[in-house]
Symmetry: C2
Subunit: 218 residues, 2 copies
């Protein structure tokens, strides 16, 4: 069966996966972009953004894994865009994601929301589907289209926490970045017993981050 | 001037430096002992506890640093013992720390408490002094006796947080251990701007933990 995989959920040493005070201009919150500098340096990121070069070491290996063998993506609404509430405003009706006409997914993307929205078909094979009946429904729909491939679970933190609480995450790549944000959003919060205490955790030191990979063992 | 140094403040990947539900039998809380297994394996720990052998790799280097060049120790009352409230009960008057007649400090130890207590002189050069007028007073007293040497700041989490909030920690060794506790005490919590955003952070992968060393840069 397809695995549900989290990749490149970069975390500061003090435990934040996004900074405080997220806005349209700073969707990752104050200081949040610094969490991803290890990835911005990689060849995978350079190729995605049309830049030459990029690093080819350990960090690159982890960046590339996040795009290999993925047949569908699930994300929270706040990762899809800054619009809140119903989609019926002019801004809401016009919004087609952060990523331009040809988003870097190239497969179906399931956006969790409380407000129904018609699917949006983009160039390059990406279609945004809007799921209003919960995380398990989104996972079932993603499985139905992913075939033999896996499903990537994007952010934000609240979406990942919801899947962790439900025990549905098979693999989670968590790069720990040597900086302190002081405030922001945690992924490990109020998880209690839902944290898989029997997860096996592998550690690989990279150039710009230490890569922890959690694999569900039960 | 003497530095104030934290050593071996082991943290789980989900950010806890002690487990939940601390008791006399489990002073580190549920699962908290597992945070220190990397250290229990080292030669330094073996020597301190009268066992032969012990590892001599990266983890050992970090364990040993916590005892090198230290002239005084500061700790919170809960690290000194399980007694709460005034010391005037029979248990309170009899308590002389967790460590037996010859504690592994061999220098003055300043215990933060709200309740006055006469100093306790132990074998091997350790004397426990009880400080009732706050963290800055404890630091001043520790500096006065440490001479050229540094001061080690012990736990628990609340004590370290108090010194971090006050901007008084010069160096902090934080081993991150690849396990999840699910609940417990955080060291990075409600620190906000008190977190030294300009700390430089060095990362060294060890055998049983990834060692982060934070150095205050302003």
């Amino acid at each position: 069966m397809s695995k549900l995989r989290v990749h490149a959920l970069s975390m500061s040493l003090d435990g934040y996966v996004a900074g405080a005070n997220q806005t349209v201009d700073e969707p990752l919150g104050e200081g949040g972009e610094r969490l991803h500098e290890w990835m911005f340096a990689t060849r995978t990121w350079h190729e995605m953004t049309g830049q030459p070069g990029g690093s080819v070491g350990i960090d690159e290996q982890f960046a590339a894994q996040g795009f290999a063998g993925i047949g569908a993506t699930i994300m929270g609404r706040n990762m899809f865009g800054p619009i809140r509430g119903p989609w019926t405003t002019p801004e809401g009706e016009a919004w087609r994601g952060w990523w331009g006409a040809n988003p870097p997914y190239h497969h179906p993307v399931f956006v969790l929301t409380h407000h129904a929205h018609e699917p949006i078909e983009m160039e390059g094979g990406t279609t945004f589907h809007f799921v209003t009946d919960g995380i398990e429904s989104a996972l079932a729909r993603a499985r139905a289209v992913a075939g033999d491939q896996d499903i990537r679970l994007g952010g934000g933190a609240a979406t990942v926490r919801a899947y962790l609480r439900a025990g549905l995450v098979d693999e989670m790549h968590l790069p720990v970045v040597p900086l302190l944000l002081g405030a922001g959003e945690r992924v490990f919060d109020d998880l209690g017993d839902a944290v898989e205490r029997s997860s096996s955790i592998e550690v690989t030191p990279g150039e710009g981050a230490t890569h922890f990979v959690l694999t569900r063992t039960r």
